[in-house]
Symmetry: C2
Subunit: 320 residues, 2 copies
Amino acid sequence: MSKGLLADVGELELIRRLAGRLGPARGVVTGIGDDAAVVRPTPDSAFDLVLTSDAVIQGTHFLPDSDPRSVGHKVAGRALSDLAAMGAEPDWALIDLSAPPDTPAAFVEAVYDGAAGLAARHGLAIVGGDTARSSDLALHIFAVGRVPAGRALLRSGAGTGDAVYVTGSLGCSIAGRHLSFEPRVREGIWLRESGIVTSAIDVSDGLARDMMHILEMSGVGAVIEQDLIPVSPAAAQAADGLSPVEHALHDGEDFELLFTLPAEEADAFDARWHAMFSLPCTRIGRITANKGNLILSGKGGSTPVPGCSHFDHFRRGDRP
Amino acid sequence: MSKGLLADVGELELIRRLAGRLGPARGVVTGIGDDAAVVRPTPDSAFDLVLTSDAVIQGTHFLPDSDPRSVGHKVAGRALSDLAAMGAEPDWALIDLSAPPDTPAAFVEAVYDGAAGLAARHGLAIVGGDTARSSDLALHIFAVGRVPAGRALLRSGAGTGDAVYVTGSLGCSIAGRHLSFEPRVREGIWLRESGIVTSAIDVSDGLARDMMHILEMSGVGAVIEQDLIPVSPAAAQAADGLSPVEHALHDGEDFELLFTLPAEEADAFDARWHAMFSLPCTRIGRITANKGNLILSGKGGSTPVPGCSHFDHFRRGDRP
């Protein structure tokens, strides 16, 4: 019997309810339900604005003994990764800080150094923000990027037969990479400019769950080849009862790009990617007409991906 | 002896240090130091974007028993008031929610109803946001507005001899108005369109402190006539040892507009304002060349405004 707490309702249902409270509005190309919102300043604008926000909260996204520069790196990195998933050029950001008064000023300054350093490397200018007292140490970043009008990469365009790709490697980011990842900004812009990418998302909830986001928004299914999933060194060495592939499928916070493009473009795409980037980019599966179904294919046959529920910030039992 | 905690350093010094860590950047018209940042999407853009962010945190900005719709009203209202102070038309907003899992979902939904209701009345579309677990219930709003290029109202343009105006009435907003105020969006846009306003700010830290922000950014001084300050009914009735004028000078969270314009325009301005708005707009003083000095003039003579330090979120002894 639900008591109506966030722990009962869960994050996805909460977001559905909140989204339902917001009406349609002028100049909104894509609202709630993608990595970022896409808005058009004027009907004849040559560009769309891409707007995203992300929280980085002590105890949820980092620990009290985390290196503060890495915390700042994560603050900027989360927003940059959202922009990358939309194929957007980063422009401006605001950072809100809320903190207890007994927080060392040097800690906060180092957080900003970490954020400003990564932001500057990607052309993201931090132009303001708010400071306030709170009992949690928390940072909220709001970022604005740009794409040519109508060209943002969305979750919603994957078509049957498309090839599924993922950059880098996945799993066990908690071993360190969740605080030091490199957002795939340059790659995201390049993918958008290629003109052939049909859908994209960044892997924040985990490969399985983020693949599901694409399937839901595109109205399709997918088969992922278990042996093709690129497993991170940390996941390959994990000795905690979960297989490396299970880590790669479910851990999250990899901040790699997961995307689709037409199968007939795949070979030429592979060649162009490898001429451009040293970062691995792996074809791991294909889009099917089997709407909403994510199938894992391997030596033991084909099975629905198990436990395909993302980390829920509010549900009981889900621990960050 | 400073131990280097936020409580020792204080909010203003912290902001100075953080601002110093962020370099200059492309397309930034006005960065940290005004009610909002002003950025120009392209060098030949017809409009500038106005970017602002605000926190609304339980225990700091509202209490656990505050009406949740009013909390949401304050979330949208704080951002709209910042846009109003810049003379900007509201466009889009994101709202981040962080909350403990035992928060009632109905409370959060009512917060969003309050925010969405006020936002819709002012043409601000809420297009996304982030949700996360935290021990504090906190909302962060990020809003984007627009002004014709180069026309944002800033804190920095007040000139010697200018008349000083404030809308509405001031003081004791804690009695209720801090959760139900009407952001002066229409008035702010009208002031910007008048073409004669030389500086503007919204009264969030209190009349005295916000006047000081204009003086600092404009490199001028001011004399305020004590008997002309419009005192709110709640401040007029306060029986707590502070005078109504002291409340009006220092309480803050009034979210009225404080602005300046050339003295020779004042009479014509008064007539046009009263033809346009029923909201009071009071001429309370004048800008002087006495750089950085805010003088209160009254029956007892002229004195520097006492205790002209704003509520500091971090310093010891300052209680929200």
